[in-house]
């Protein structure tokens, strides 16, 4: 502040002095100093309308050095990303930093930049996790659709690390999106069975698989057409669906997805007892499929929690 004040005062004196110099020997003697003071006064008043002399300048180099000296976890997300970019500005060959930056960009839904960062990382060092992240970013960029590019990334990732869970999940998702529910079911249940019980992905994937497989299979156009008719009754349609599912389960020709749909719809209707019955039926039917039993165990825990809360 003091240095700034000195610089500004000297600047004002030099400029105003230069301009007023021809008046220095004029009479009255106070004329030149008065003009000088007037100039300085106007300049000062204009300056102080909006000045922030106490705010320090923050050149980028200085800001970057401060970020580097700070624990990354103490930084906000934007600063963390910028810290990674700072690292990469000095060392473009840091594959881990590119991959980490890619993950943060992907989380911020900046997919194009994330893909670029993952690709930069992979050019430096092939890594199964980065390939898998790249594949997932391709999918996010394509509104959830598993594209051929994404599949290629997952295949390469799986070839490098067969234990990686994500490729299997997304292979299943691609089958599911193409309408091949049975193939998707098989891939997913095998994947869940393969994962260790302590692997956090096991629960995550099981939940996802349940959400996907238990989605009601409806023809959107038919529903729209029905909804437009005057005697449309949504509750009746749900009841009809439950009836059809129950009939299939009773007849023993229901698939795992049908069982999950029945459990879900009963849970949604608040019929926890009915849900537990459906769950038990599924357990009896798929007792030998480990992956299926994992999902059903999770559902049982969820339904029991709901019941407990209800009481």
């Amino acid at each position: 502040m003091i240095l700034l004040a000195i610089i500004l005062a000297v600047t004002a004196f030099v400029f105003a002095g230069f301009a007023v110099w021809p008046a220095a020997r004029l009479r009255p003697r106070w004329l030149a100093p008065s003009i000088l003071a007037g100039l300085a006064g106007v300049a000062g008043a204009t300056y102080f309308a909006g000045a922030q002399p106490q705010a320090p300048g923050v050149p980028y180099q200085q800001a970057a050095a401060e970020r580097m000296a700070t624990n990354p976890e103490a930084l906000g997300q934007a600063a963390q990303m910028e810290r990674l970019r700072d690292i990469l500005r000095t060392d473009e060959t840091d594959a881990a930093a590119w991959a980490q930056l890619g993950r943060m960009l992907a989380r911020s839904e900046r997919e194009l930049e994330a893909i670029n960062a993952f690709q930069r990382s992979l050019r430096l060092e092939l890594n199964a996790r980065t390939l898998s992240d790249l594949g997932q970013t391709f999918i996010n960029l394509n509104d959830g659709q598993v594209t051929d590019e994404a599949r290629a990334a997952f295949e390469e990732a799986q070839r490098m690390d067969a234990a990686l869970p994500e490729p299997g999940f997304f292979f299943g998702l691609q089958a599911f999106q193409s309408g091949d529910i049975d193939a998707a079911e098989t891939i997913w249940l095998d994947l869940i069975a393969r994962l260790d019980d302590r692997d956090p992905y096991k629960i995550l994937i099981s939940e996802q698989v349940f959400q996907l497989l238990s989605q009601p299979q409806v023809n959107a156009e038919a529903v729209e057409a029905a909804a437009a008719s005057e005697d449309f009754d949504p509750r009746q349609r749900i009841a009809d669906m439950v009836q059809r599912l129950e009939a299939r389960v009773a007849a023993g020709d229901a698939g795992f997805a049908d069982h999950l749909r029945l459990i879900r719809v009963r849970g949604m209707l608040g019929d926890n007892e009915g849900g537990m019955d459906a769950l038990q039926a599924a357990r009896d039917r798929f007792a030998e499929r480990e992956g299926a039993m994992t999902i059903l165990d999770l559902l049982a825990a969820a339904l029991q929690t709901d019941e407990g809360q209800g009481e």
Partner: protein, 642 residues
């Protein structure tokens, strides 16, 4: 600290401008030598302060100091060095500082170079210029300060608008501003002349070199902008009759009228009032351009910093300039004198018609530009005035200008001059006119364009004759002036012919191409050889390699860029120029086909003889420069004689 010093220097330039106004006024009123020196020194001081402030702003950009709001809003640490510097004038506040630097530069130049033989008029003009500086520096210091700070400093800047990250556009605004602000000298001299009660001849002689210089710079600025639009916006247009383009075209037209009318006024005292009026209007129109760009009242691809409050400031400045200038004109124009009079077929008469036509074009463009604004003010929204209106209204006037243009240089001042020899000569010009019209017909131009081509042919023949006939002129100054006139007039013809060629149906094809696929337009076969990544420091890019065959094989490399910081995609076109025209290729969105194959949208256009526009613009700028040199030499010679 740098930002605070910059802010203080802006304040200092403002304070020095007040001193310049007061001491200049006193010097003009009393003849006080110390006051005169104080006025000049204030002008130099203000210039030094503004230049250093601008230099500090550039340093802040180079340092990427995002504690400065303007830097944070227009820069990014990964941006190339050149564009970090160019960003200093890429937004509202910085460009306003540049405007002020040029304005105080004009003030200092007036104090240093203007009117050594008429100190009183010069001091009054320096004082008026100080007043203009106060208006704009006040606006800068209090409402648009580029040194404003941010308390919450962002980790990264928002980057400069990607379409502005281009060499032509980095140079376009400073050049344009030299033109806009250069006209302030003509304004100050005209107002000073009216206050001092000087005759029209003295005022015209004083403002002519400044107007010529400003008009030349304005031409260069407009041409650079058109060139940028041609290759950056991705579809090959160069003039859109966009409100902001019109805002630069109107002062150009008025300044063109001014430099012609000032010649007549200086020679014979005729059009004295009109010349003073044009000098006031030219800078007022320049300020109107600033208002249109910065206020947000009009939607435009050029508009930035859309802020109604700032718009009100500039509207206020414009009101002071137009209101003050024209009120003074109304009361004092009688003292300008009436001139020596002139015959109907004298050079003055033709200059008068030239001025009427230029003013008519400026008037129709002004009407078309402001009409949507006026209608909105009356509650009628959604009104827009498009190219059809401007082409229909401006073209007939411009065609008439082309017809009259070559005749004037052969006419004498004041006297009747339409001789039999001139009649024969101008009859001979019809032949090139017919040939040019035939050419336009053969390239399938519209009827209006055929007529314009015929007029251009006629004019070009006249311009060549002008050069031949006046080649005997003695003295370097006269030759420079002649060269300037001929180049500028021939440049106008080239631009007219370029516009004719552009108005013909341009062959264009748009198709989605996968690797190995071809696209054809008449005379060319283009094959997409492949697409590769071509990332830059602050953008991601796909670059297509397109092989072109038309007897010889060449390749074009259009790009599609994604600027992440601004979240903007741009097309960088590839152009193969030839005598016949430009092959113009742009790369669009990639799309997956059902087969999974990726295809890119490729747009191919052939723009016939577009080089004529560039050539014309260069000729006009060279012509203006040559005429300025001739004028300076002539004044020096006169000074030596006297």
């Amino acid at each position: 600290m740098i930002a605070e010093i910059g802010r203080f220097l802006v304040a200092l330039a403002f304070a020095l401008s007040i001193l310049q106004l007061l001491s200049g006024w006193r010097a003009a009123s009393t003849g006080s030598a110390p006051a005169m020196r104080i006025a000049a020194r204030s002008a130099y001081g203000a210039l030094a302060a503004a230049v250093i402030a601008f230099g500090l702003l550039i340093i802040l950009f180079l340092q990427s100091d995002f504690s400065v709001a303007y830097v944070a809003g227009h820069s990014h640490v990964d941006k190339p060095l050149f564009y970090k510097i160019a960003a200093a004038w890429g937004g509202h506040e910085g460009s306003m500082l540049l405007w002020c630097v040029m304005l105080v530069g004009v003030g200092a130049a007036l104090a240093r170079f203007a009117l050594r033989q008429d100190e009183q008029l010069k001091n009054r003009a320096v004082s008026i210029q100080g007043g203009l500086q106060i208006l704009f520096l006040g606006f800068l210091a209090f409402a648009s300060n580029p040194f404003d700070r941010l308390l919450d400093v962002p980790v990264q800047g928002a980057d400069l608008n990607p379409i502005l990250q281009d060499p032509a556009l980095a140079i376009h605004p400073p050049t344009l501003y030299i033109g806009y602000v250069g006209l302030s000298a003509a304004f100050s001299l005209a107002v000073a002349g009216l206050i001092e009660g000087r005759g029209g001849r003295a005022i015209a002689a004083a403002l002519r070199p400044w107007s010529l210089f400003a008009w030349t710079a304005l031409t260069a600025g407009i041409a650079l902008g058109a060139w940028w639009a041609y290759y950056e916006l991705g579809w090959g247009g160069w003039w859109f009759w966009d409100p902001v383009e019109n805002a630069s075209f109107m002062p150009w037209l008025v300044a063109a009228a001014l430099i012609h009318s000032a010649i007549a006024t200086e020679k014979s005292g005729n059009f004295a009032g009109w010349t003073a009026f044009l000098a006031i209007m030219a800078f007022t129109m320049s300020t109107m351009g600033a208002f249109l760009v910065r206020s947000g009242v009009l939607t435009s691809v050029h508009a930035f910093a859309l802020d109604p409050e700032r718009g009100l400031w500039i509207l206020g400045i414009m009101t002071i300039l137009a209101g003050g200038g024209l009120t003074l004109f109304a009361f004092r124009s009688g003292r300008l004198g009436h001139g020596d009079g002139f015959a109907l077929t004298s050079r003055e008469a033709f200059i008068g018609v030239n001025n009427l036509l230029l003013a008519a074009v400026a008037g129709t463009v002004l009407f078309g530009t402001l009409y949507p604004l006026v209608m909105t003010a009356f509650g009628v929204s959604g009104v827009s005035v498009g190219a059809a209106y401007f082409n229909a209204t401006a073209t007939p006037f411009l065609a008439a200008l082309l017809i009259l243009l070559p005749i004037a240089p052969f006419l004498p001042w004041k006297k009747d001059g339409f001789s039999r020899r001139l009649a024969v000569r101008s009859t001979l010009w019809i032949l090139p006119g017919v040939l040019a019209g035939l050419w336009a017909f053969l390239i399938e131009a519209s009827p209006v364009a055929i007529a314009a081509a015929a007029f251009a042919g006629w004019t070009l023949a006249g311009v060549v004759t002008d050069l031949w006939y006046h080649r005997v002129l003695q003295g370097a100054a006269a030759r420079f002036s002649l060269t300037g006139r001929v180049l500028a007039h021939a440049g106008v013809v080239a631009v007219a012919l370029g516009a004719v060629a552009d108005s013909t149906g341009r062959p264009e094809t748009v198709r989605a191409l996968a690797e190995g696929e071809q696209i054809e337009i008449p005379g060319f076969t283009l094959t997409l050889d492949g697409v590769r990544r071509a990332d830059g420091p602050n953008y991601l890019a796909d670059e297509a390699r397109i092989v072109v065959e038309n007897g010889r094989v060449s390749e074009l490399l259009p790009q599609r860029r994604y600027y992440a910081a601004a979240d903007t995609t741009t097309r960088e076109v590839a152009i193969r120029s030839g005598l016949g025209g430009d092959l113009y290729v742009s790369l669009g969105e990639p799309r997956a086909r059902d087969s999974g194959e990726i295809a890119y949208e490729v747009r191919v256009t052939f723009n016939p003889m577009v080089w004529l526009l560039g050539l014309g613009a260069i000729m006009i700028v060279l012509g203006g420069t040559s005429a300025s040199i001739g004028r300076a030499m002539s004044r020096r010679q006169k000074g030596m004689v006297s």
